[in-house]
Point group: C2
Chain length 433, copies 2
């Protein structure tokens, strides 16, 4: 292996697109672990260039001499075998990733929004070129969940994936739960501590989690699920009162991504969810992530860890990079997204879960019976009913058995129209398993 | 793809050695999921034969027509590409697996004892033949931990792997903790419920966990670690009293496998360990398994699930089988065990941890000082000391700061020789992180 031409043959050229928190950490780790990586790959990783938008901004970086603003030319260089995309956004990285795949380069991306929106196009391009497209870092950073779904569970049938996949919202909900403070105050705290971005919309409204749910559902059910297929409700309407009521009932509220297979239909959704305090996901604190995968033969598996941050995300990118580089050196190809099963995506109205409905009602004889009639009229049976005094009115909290979203939504409309119902304060879904 | 010769080319011949709980479940799942597996592999799995020791015993099996007692001839058949070994034992399966690898067949094994004892020989044979050797099922059944160590963390540096990797002992310790019953009673309960085998030695003395620790340490640190390198202490000496004392102190006792890298040395050990009740491993109940992996960039990851049983083990075997079959169809090879780092294995005497020493001592003035002197004389500082009345004597419980095993062992010998020390009841190691 000391033969020069052999060594050249075993060099793998890498282009890194982006030099933010993740990109700079990827470069640092490739430097720090270079000897290990060479052994694990059976060849060397050679960084051929780093694409940035502004050379001036990065002029003091140790990688400054590798930088270019011409990402497309870098991708097209003959000596670039693998492209690492860590820019963010959708349209521009989409063009770059497609160009790379079409030019026969394997691609590693950490871009959940891109993968969730354009997986069909990207997968097709990778398949046509016979190259690898990896994105472990797109979901829960270094927590291995895409690898296990693609490989470890390749001989099993996944029936559900449920988890906390957004650290920002988990930090806010956890802080609301432990301090009793309001959503606005804890969002401000998350922003101050760097857990939330200046514009927190993508996190708090659930869009980030929805992208991850789309990716997880696609891999779990071998069916193309895009972010548009994911029902999405964020945490911005969750009040301190909701959290405190949950606490009293031995529960907590988490933003869950829930992907399920029911017969030959699949569904994916993101919404605030009441879970019992003894549920393993209830103890996931701060900005940690945790994902349950339930498969027919394997049973329930849980994966837990740090779901964000430069180093954990870079760890996932490097794991993928070693895999793609090994394939360049030794041949072979990663299993693709492989959406052969092509199952039907259930209409959200068909999806069944349990509900916690909190309302203010007239404190009069017979009101409870009339409200219960609305549920039973829609075929929804009640699991628990709790009534408390609340000034001149009564507060009524109803927990249902499993019922379809459509039916529950119909009942809520009818409740809102009843004179005896002063307000429907919240409707929160419940998971007990 | 309807072309006959194409189809033949894409058929992957499989020999299954063994038809016990796991073997029969593997065959059942291959049948049940055949359509899915064909899509995921890009070819069909064809079972060419099933090797058993007694044809008569399996004559009513749906796979009876495929059975043979001549495992070696089955392995050597030209149409067998992959061999699945689920026999158990060491010597006989070793011969079979080596024969398969030497004949250029990829091998999937669930046999932790075999891999932990003979990984060097097996890896070399796989490398020489350029074929795959997979054994995800050998550690924690369907919980993906070998895959993540080999692939997902391939771009990171693992510093520790700690976990509960034996379901039988966790069931017994958990039952002792929740009922206050004795080890013997809970072992009997575990046997009655099928969690312990008729001869439970391999489980309760930690040998099974030690094999798994050897496999995990080898992959985590890219260094050959065999079961003989693993310090191993089982749970048979843990008393109801130990458990109750732990409970009072807000702790519980778990049998942990602990693999650590310290600088350029690595260590692996299995022993009962006191952990705080709020430690994530403390809530792992019944026969569940959970493994923490700590890596420099990824931080701490946890993997949790069912660590044993026919279906979960078969799920792991099938995941490996799909991977090996994909490589037969598409080319490529799994990353090998790759023990390039070849780090030194620390002498157990050098390994540092904290200790909980429980002893009966004379209830006299000055005894505590003389005992404390023994620790400080060996350079071991104490974290807490608790003294209680115990009949005519006193019970003294000392918890140390980190200290090397060798030094602690020396102190215990000296304590035992002191007239004032009536008995050293237990020495249990502690993990707080």
């Amino acid at each position: 292996m000391s033969d020069k031409s052999q060594q050249d043959h075993r060099s793998v050229g890498v282009a890194v697109l982006g030099h933010g928190t993740v990109g700079s950490e990827v470069l640092r780790l490739i430097g720090e672990y270079s000897e290990d990586l060479t052994h694990r790959i059976g060849g060397t990783l050679d960084i051929k260039g780093v694409a940035v938008s502004d050379l001036e901004k990065h002029k003091d970086s140790p990688a400054a001499h590798l930088m270019t603003t011409d990402a497309m030319s870098l991708i097209e260089r003959d000596d670039v075998d693998i492209v690492v995309e860590v820019i963010g956004g959708i349209d521009y990285p989409r063009q770059l990733v497609l160009a790379a795949l079409n030019a026969g380069k394997s691609v590693i991306t950490a871009n959940k929004a891109l993968v969730a929106a354009h997986s069909a196009e990207l997968d097709d391009a990778a398949d046509r070129a016979g190259v690898d497209l990896y994105y472990e870092a797109a979901v829960a950073a270094a927590i291995p969940v895409i690898g296990p779904l693609r490989r470890s569970l390749a001989g099993d049938r996944v029936v559900a994936v449920k988890g906390i996949v957004n650290g920002t919202t988990n930090f806010i909900l956890d802080a609301m739960d432990s301090t009793g403070a309001s959503y606005d105050d804890m969002l401000a705290e998350a922003t101050r501590l760097g857990y939330a971005e200046a514009d927190p919309t993508a996190d708090v409204e659930g869009h980030d989690a929805a992208s991850k749910a789309a990716i997880l559902a696609s891999l779990a059910f071998h069916t193309r699920v895009t972010a548009d297929d994911v029902y999405c409700e964020g945490i911005s309407k969750i009040t301190a009162d909701d959290i405190n009521a949950a606490k009293k009932a031995g529960q907590t509220i988490k933003l869950l991504a829930i992907c399920e297979r029911n017969g030959d239909k699949v569904s994916a959704r993101v919404h605030p969810t009441l879970i019992p305090r003894e549920h393993p996901l209830a103890s996931v604190s701060q900005s940690f992530n945790a994902i349950f995968v339930e498969a027919e033969a394997a049973g329930r598996l849980m994966f837990y860890g740090n779901g964000a941050g430069g180093a954990p995300t870079a760890s996932a990118v490097l794991g993928d990079l070693v895999g793609a580089a090994r394939n360049k050196v030794h041949g072979g190809r990663a299993p693709g997204a492989s959406t052969y099963a092509n199952l039907e995506i259930a209409d959200f109205g068909e999806v069944e879960t349990r509900y916690h409905v909190d309302m203010d009602v007239d404190d009069q004889l017979g009101v409870l019976a009339r409200i219960a009639d609305q549920f039973s009229g829609a075929g929804i049976s009640l699991r628990t009913v709790r009534q408390e005094e609340k000034g001149d009115n009564a507060r009524l909290i109803v927990v249902t058995h499993h019922a379809p979203e459509r039916d529950l939504a119909g009942v809520v409309e009818k409740l809102k129209a009843m004179d005896e119902v002063k307000s429907v304060n919240s409707v929160i879904r419940l998971e007990s398993e």
